[in-house]
């Protein structure tokens, strides 16, 4: 005879049985029964954010940094709609997340009841799947299914909308949490087709100018080690997308840096001239390919992806392989000796001398890490320098949660991630306001690690209220605010395309005193204005391990992010390299 529980208790219990570590949420009328059950059971710590959007970003970053699915609990109506941006952010980057939203009582649905909103309808285009609970008894199985769907195949957020009456404490039903669930209409493919994998290896072994291009699929799919092993075995150059950074060690000589719109000169050129491209867990997004018809004109392309719909979506693929990055790389390593003996592998690696010489020449001429490509004599702090200082101060080992703008691109370019799951940013949706709540999710998961937010004075103000959450839960995050006094990325485009007409990208002296603001919440504020102060300031900030430090760093307001691919109609290699140089 199974236990009798109310719907609210079922939610609390199922999350415990699922092994959930934190619930990120915000209470309200429709979820009061659930909140009472959480209170009475005390199974799972709940993090009370200051805005539901922050709950979703925190849960999302918890997932990105740990690989475990984050959980969000919000009330109906405004609680649910506030969560939407965060759900969309997770969806675009294929991050698993389970969002429980309260709904008005079943009999009121459709009557425009107080705080009623059609959450299943509103979230439909930005979720992997959603459930509207109809019967209390279904809650455990629906929760199990939600985790299964969110985590398997190409991962993504799942919404469970729960009408208030179904969680009433007096209505108890038998509780049973299933070990596993089967969904007849959903059977994600894990393993790639062995014939295709062998074909891919054969093609790869014919390459003279190969490039491995990988994305978030390698990170989320826990395939970084295998990728590194495979690339090293064949001496392959590797480039990562914005989402894929850390998938291959950033300081390794075989790493070319990020590719795409703000990718490195050597990465974009290598792609353009490649004869074989091995793409893994990346989706040929428009920020990567530039003009698809001009994308990598001489390359045969192998594409490994968990999602068949990603293959040949924007760029035609020669050898598609549907499967997870991990299993396919495992198989590639297994089959490699069948396809090529040691002699053939040695030959292959030796024949790549010429290709590597070319790549190293590109790197020498315009690479970002060989020597500074920015003005070092301006007397102003350059944003690139600030990121280099951050890299040094944290040994390259911090969890870096970024907001969106120039600072994000500088971080992607200059913080060289050697490990996966350390670079946490909103790549697909580009959500300003992501950084601070993301750092909260990370810090909760890794209380002893360095966790920082790289942000701008624009982005940070989109969720700055979370400084209060950090106070409540004692989250000593480091906030690296690259204060350029502008919506910098917008300004850059206005400089380049609108004759520097700064339409609404300036604040007219309205910025707050961030130091005082941080202090008002009980944190430490630190102002940095000179390049020579940077290293010490960073060291000081990170030495305060039990304090949230808000570093307000005044950077050159007129710096642009380069390289920048030329659009429209440009190919991968068409780039601006500075305000005056173009390829």
């Amino acid at each position: 005879m199974s236990e009798l529980l109310s719907g609210g208790e079922m939610v609390a219990r199922a999350l415990k049985d699922e092994g959930v570590e934190f619930i990120f949420g915000y209470p309200g009328g429709a979820v009061l029964h659930i909140y009472d059950a959480l209170h009475q059971t005390q199974f799972t710590p709940h993090i009370l954010v200051r805005h539901e959007q922050a709950a979703t970003h925190a849960a999302d970053a918890y997932t990105r940094s740990t690989g475990k699915t984050g959980v969000v609990l919000v009330t109906s109506g405004p609680g649910a709609t506030n969560a939407i941006t965060g759900i969309a952010t997770a969806y675009m980057d294929s991050i698993p997340m389970v969002v429980l939203s309260g709904q008005v009582q079943s009999h009121l649905i459709g009557e425009d009841a107080f705080q009623e909103t059609d959450m299943v309808g509103i979230s439909r285009p930005i979720v992997k799947h959603s459930f509207l609970v109809k019967k209390t008894e279904d809650i455990p199985e629906i929760i199990k299914k939600a985790f299964f769907i969110a985590e398997s195949g190409r991962p993504g957020p799942v919404v469970i909308d729960i009408p208030k009456d179904l969680t009433h404490p007096d209505l108890k039903y038998p509780y049973h949490y299933p070990e596993t669930v089967k969904i007849r209409s959903y059977t994600p493919i894990e393993k790639g087709h062995s014939g295709q994998i062998k074909k891919a290896l054969k093609l790869l072994m014919t390459a003279k100018r190969p490039v491995v291009y990988t994305g978030g699929g390698v990170i989320q799919g826990n395939a970084s080690e295998l990728l590194t092993q495979f690339a090293r075995a064949l001496r392959l150059p590797v480039t990562n997308t914005l989402m894929g950074l850390g998938g291959y060690p950033g300081t390794d000589p075989q790493f070319l840096g990020m590719l795409g719109m703000h990718g490195t000169y050597e990465a974009n050129n290598s792609m353009h001239h490649a004869d074989v491209i091995l793409a893994i867990g990346a989706r040929f997004d428009d920020r990567v390919t530039n003009t698809p018809s001009k994308f990598c004109p001489s390359a045969k392309i192998i594409h490994v992806d968990a999602d068949p719909a990603s293959i040949s979506k924007t760029v035609a693929i020669d050898i598609p392989i549907v499967g997870s990055a991990k299993t396919v790389l495992e198989d590639m390593l297994t089959y490699l000796p069948e396809i090529a003996d040691q002699q053939a592998i040695d030959n292959f690696k030796n024949h790549m001398d010429e290709w590597w010489q070319q790549i190293n020449l590109w790197r020498e001429n315009h690479g970002l890490w060989v020597k500074p490509r920015y003005d070092t004599h301006s007397g102003l702090i350059k944003p690139q320098q600030a990121i280099e200082a951050l890299f040094k101060a944290t040994n390259g080992e911090a969890y870096v949660c970024s907001d969106v703008g120039q600072h994000q691109m500088f971080t992607a370019q200059y913080y060289r991630f050697d490990q996966p799951r350390r670079w946490i940013n909103s790549g697909g949706l580009g959500t300003m306001g992501f950084g601070l709540p993301a750092a909260m999710g990370c810090k909760l998961a890794f209380p002893d690690a360095h966790v920082c937010t790289v942000t701008g004075e624009g982005s940070i103000q989109m969720n700055i209220q979370e400084l209060s959450t950090c106070t409540q839960y004692g989250l000593p995050i480091k906030i690296i605010n690259l204060n350029n006094g502008y919506l910098g990325m917008v300004k850059q485009w206005q400089d380049m395309q609108y004759d520097s007409r700064y339409s609404q990208s300036v604040y007219e002296d309205s910025l707050p005193d961030f130091i005082k603001l941080a202090e008002a919440y009980g944190h430490v504020g630190m102002k940095v204005t000179k390049p020579e102060e940077l290293d010490q300031a960073m060291a000081d900030a990170f030495a305060m391990t039990d304090k949230l430090v808000f570093m307000d760093i005044y950077v050159d307001p007129h710096e642009h992010v380069y390289p920048m691919q030329v659009a429209p109609n440009g190919s991968m290699r068409d780039m601006l390299l500075s305000k005056t140089e173009r390829t």
Binding site: S130, K134, R154, I183, R184, S185, D307
Partner: protein, 167 residues
């Protein structure tokens, strides 16, 4: 766009609330068009069978089928277009039928194997089934006859022979 072609897809869908809206939503979200859509429950109460026609390129149809397959509620899907298959659509059409046109309409109806299913002093209501082309041809054949109302169900499709779309 030279390779635009009419496609007919047959889908088995979970008979769940919200399933149809997810499928239709996918089309508008991704900018695919729907020419016609028919849907009803099957002999298995837990499943709906849906026939959908769309006009698109080879590349698009590949994307559409892949995206549809990604919907959790889609159990199975087949593109009937290129295989041997049967398509039927039902039309109810009400026309003015006075004087000489009464006989003319009746004749047309017989040629197309339609049935007059409702009659009054000034109009006929005709039921006619067949391929969409046939229904178009019937409307064409009515010429000057005054059409009062046309109701078409959209296409239902099934493959020929032993092949089937089932669990």
């Amino acid at each position: 766009m030279t390779d635009l072609k009419r496609r007919i897809l047959s889908v088995l869908l979970e008979n769940e609330p919200g399933a149809l809206s997810r499928l239709v939503g996918l089309f508008s979200q991704r900018g695919y068009n729907i020419e016609s859509l028919t849907v009803a429950v099957t002999d298995d109460q837990s499943l709906s069978r849906l026939t959908l026609t769309t006009i698109c390129s080879d590349h698009k149809i590949e994307q559409i089928t892949k995206q549809l397959n990604k919907l959790i509620d889609v159990v199975k899907l087949v593109d009937l277009t290129d295989g041997a298959h049967i398509e039927r659509e039902l039309m109810l059409i009400k026309v003015k039928a006075l004087g000489a046109t009464r006989a003319e309409v009746k004749r047309c109806c017989d040629i197309f194997r339609g049935q007059i299913i409702d009659v009054n002093a000034s109009s006929y209501t005709i039921q006619i089934a067949g391929t969409s082309d046939k229904l178009d041809a019937f409307i064409e054949s009515l010429g000057d006859v005054n059409i009062i109302e046309v109701v078409r169900t959209g296409v239902s499709g099934i493959s020929r022979g032993e092949k089937s779309l089932s669990l």
